[in-house]
Symmetry: D2
Subunit: 359 residues, 4 copies
């Protein structure tokens, strides 16, 4: 059994992690830590779990003193606050998985520029692995410190990575218009998140400045083979869970040449259909070993991935404007946070990556 400690167990991502790990057949929950609610039961905060997860929450100090008795530590904390836990975990040979942003960007200066806090554990940045299993599975297997990707980020990267890698689209043309349910904003007493304020309304926010942007660019630059900048616009949607990313990119000249050549024989419509077919094949192939990516040709809805670890991807071409439009959908608390963290844990411990994430 893997002995697990969780810091930040009562936020939405933390609680989802507790729920999923409680049912994980290879895991024992050694401690759940929450400074806000320490010495209360987990089921006092989340009464769903009464008689099921009545474990008492401990405070940070106690958690740090328990470090020797666990195999892996998860942190689900606001950015800039996981550093001491990372240090203590690694000192004790405990694997460390951070659901927050602190180790996602390989470059400490970029972190500090976007998050406006000092990075207090730069020594770990070079060994920290960005935990997107579809891209970095080998590295994940061998790391002790894992940065679990953001929710918007996972949806965006999985949608666009193959297209960039295959040079289907112009890397300077990328626009990601993403929509998220309100759990993405966290569990906090904020008037703007009241049902009265945010049901029956939508808004765009952090236009041109959302902190998931550099993370998406970091990974997609790997795909493109060069540094890229893109536009990312998040939106708040009146529902609890789910992210839909609508991703736009202009079809690259070489593929437009294909269209032009093909069109002379088959007409434009058929040529675009052939191109779409070809792109689908590239995507199917790219994700053929991915346990939790479903490339599909029907219309995505976020409810189809709710409470699952799937990221669904669908592809369309706007032939009138020569753009590829890729939509991706996931549950921000599962594939966008806790489910993916467990998938990573499974890989780090040599287990089947699907354990605890199906059904």
């Amino acid at each position: 059994m893997i002995r697990v400690g969780i810091i930040g167990a009562t936020g939405y991502a933390g609680a989802e992690l507790v729920k999923l790990l409680h049912d994980h057949p290879e895991v024992q929950l050694s401690f759940l830590c929450s400074n806000s609610y320490s010495s209360q039961k987990f089921s006092d905060i989340y009464p769903h779990f009464k008689y099921r997860i009545d474990q008492v929450l401990i405070d940070t100090e106690s958690a740090l003193s328990e470090m020797r008795n666990i195999d892996v530590l998860f942190t689900a904390l606001p950015h800039g606050t996981s550093f001491p836990f990372a240090k203590e975990a690694l000192k004790n040979n405990v694997k460390f998985i951070d659901l927050g942003a602190d180790f996602r960007l390989h470059d400490g200066d970029t972190f500090e520029a976007w998050y406006q806090v000092r990075h207090e554990a730069r020594e770990f940045l070079s060994k920290s692995v960005y935990g997107l299993p579809e891209l970095h599975k080998e590295a994940i297997k061998n790391t002790d410190i894992l940065a679990n990707p953001g929710c918007y980020t996972t949806a965006s990267i999985l949608a666009l990575y193959p297209a960039l890698k295959e040079k289907l689209i112009d890397p300077q043309s990328i626009i990601i218009d993403a929509k998220s349910g309100v759990t993405g904003a966290g569990r906090k007493a904020d008037i703007s998140l009241l049902l009265t304020e945010c049901s029956e309304s939508i808004k765009a926010y952090s236009i041109g400045s959302h902190r998931h942007t550099p993370e998406i660019e970091q990974e997609l630059s790997l795909a493109a083979g060069k540094s890229i900048a893109l536009t990312f616009t998040p939106h708040l949607i009146p529902m609890q869970r789910g992210i839909l990313a609508t991703c736009y990119g202009t079809i690259s000249p070489s593929y437009m040449d294909f269209i032009e050549n093909s069109a002379s024989s088959y007409g434009y419509q058929d040529s675009y259909e052939q191109l779409l077919q070809r792109i689908y094949e590239l995507y199917y192939d790219f994700y053929k070993d991915a346990a939790f990516v479903r490339v599909r040709d029907d219309v995505l809805e976020t409810r189809f991935v709710k409470d699952t670890n799937y990221c669904d991807i669908s592809i369309r071409i706007d032939s009138r404007t020569h753009r590829l439009i890729i939509t991706s959908a996931l549950d921000n608390l599962v594939k966008g946070a806790s489910g993916q963290a467990i998938q990573n844990m499974n890989i780090m411990f040599g287990l089947d990556e699907k354990i605890g994430l199906e059904g």
Copy 2:
């Protein structure tokens, strides 16, 4: 008093029209027509209005025979079904306002290509006016046949028109990512619109093929001074009312030159802020006489325009990618349908365009 007849009075747009016109001080509701519910009271279908609008709904045949007794006819019908009403109205010197799509595209072939039905009143296309008062007020004053714009369309055009007119953005770079509440899909017994199916979910639909696209292009081509094609992607959002359009365009070379020149003196950040300020001034100026456009610099939310005839517009620059991002918000049943139709009626009859649309 203006004597009004309404065909299609029990759909969502039709009912909103009834509600607003009932309170309009210069209007008398001569007849309400609904084939589905004829001989029932309007308040049987919309019990909100019991004791207030208990008028009995009449059928199409009766409506046609009443044509001599009204001054203006509104139709709120599925596309391809308003033609006979238009003919009968104009024959009787009754002004005609269509909330549907039948007279919005000036080109009959384009209509038939996108809607896949025959246009049976092409003779009116040349005299029909596209009823966006912010662009065509003079023509609206003098027409007898008015095509009221679509909901997505109004939000998109109002957001982008000034930017294109001022050549702020590259006309080939436009992407409109729009989000709508479910009243946009109409009042019909469709499983996909059940609360259980569409609450707690979002989806993109009609990617690259939505019928509002040619309408947006028609009007924005006027702004650009040449024919343009753009990408338009609609999304269904789990709320009743409201549209948010997030519009993207690449800043044009001349304005990028301005940035480069200015940056050498003031730095990039200040230069972008100056540019944004300048764009705001252009927008304020463009809409200075528009009664129902609010150019604003805060974050838009669709609830801020709910139950009003306003279209709110906000502007941002993504300086990292040189894109202008303009968001616009409106209530799809008011400024996106019935409110705008009444605004048009007011103009056509020489009234203050705000009558019946405030409060």
Copy 3:
């Protein structure tokens, strides 16, 4: 023009009051007071009203000093906090309308027992009028100090008053099971009111102990002609606005005798139908002059009264258990708070009670 001051202008009831009074043709908003947001514009807190209600909010001290320049003061405050405003208003011959609970109970001890705060203006209790126009219109006309009823209360009393007055039901048998949207809980940063916590869920709360209970009992005791106690259970419903009260009472012996006698001639079913018909006539008659009560025989839904000042009432008999089941529906922010307060103001100032409350 009636010059109006509002204390507590940014809570949900206060803001609805501002909105409605802004459109009231006989009212001038002299000041809007909010300690939390003083010196900001009203439209900064409620951006819906940008360019429409940009009035700057003042603080309490300024409000008190403005008392001589107004004709009526509204307070929309937490219980136990309106006393100084009442005193200052009356001292200045300003009419005083309290949307809170401080002057609703005629008995100061009862107030203190239920609200657990000292009543600091007992001298006004005897002259304060309970502002339910359907019951106390004459007294409302002549008072300077008016206690506007609670939301649950209005729905409950209007549903049951005629039944008790006509001795249709046993006064000891009354159970009120009421359901409210979340605006009823006020605008406050409380985790339990987040969309994530309260959408897709319902709960009963304050079972047997809700503070609206003595208010309902006070007024229904008037109807019964003796002091009564009843069971009142409120529920929180995942929607913004609306209250539905489902009210149960056992048919009284005299009416059961009617049934038994009638049944021997007409059978039970017909007899119960006759009884229901008779009860409807009593209700129609009781409310024949009430501008905002709609007695109706169809199924009530709270959406049918949304954004209106109506209270809808529908009556059923459960013939198997000899119970009368009366449902009532209203908008908790309108007829349950601000609309009713304006109706009261209209009456106090000799205006038509419907002014500003239609359309």
Copy 4:
């Protein structure tokens, strides 16, 4: 492995059954039948299950011919339509579990009076077992034909059974005010169930006449030891899943005597608290072996039982009116339908009743 066939696999209860049984370790889904969608994949109708449950739906005729190859048949059908399947199953020694209403009432005439259809399999009524495991576990073990209780019914009976059995309340005083999410109305193209029509609204319906009433009375009469009649009022709530039943009963004279006697020594408040404590102990004891009933003293919310097979129960006393108020909460599609059906299947096949229903 238990070989299972399901008739009505695409309604909400049917689909939940498919989902839960697909993950049940002792079950093999032999066939899924849906006349509306036969020859499509289950995942075409419920795209959540793409790549997971792609089984092709068969039609009724095929289902009947497969009867020999299964061990148990579930039907999730409208009332009055399960009779031929019951006959065919029992003829083939296949156990039969009906999620509908056809075999719940032991009396055929009562069925026909409430459902207004002929009962075409009266021969099975005497052997059919009412599948509430908390009451009838032994009978469930030994039956071949099981009537799975309704959703409102399960919540109501579990709340009130111990109180009636222990004669805590007057059996003629019972009122059940129940609230349900919209999945309770089924998956059908009905305008009244559209998000636009039923979000942001509540209503009571079928007042005094809902078909779950006789079922509740049948079982609670067993508890009371005599035939009882009660008032049951269902409400539609704007959420997908969940039922809350608020149940009222007047404390019986013997317990009121206890209060009076105790009050002379301890005062009323303490005496009521003692009584409540005693009632809780009775409930804890009554449900001590019930795997899926959680008697709890905190406030119930339906979200705490969402996606689980739990029925939560909480008890309060209104000491002012001497009433017991018992609330119960469950997920209408799980404990109110499919989860309970699986719990029953487990018992019928000698398995641990919790298998497939945890996690």
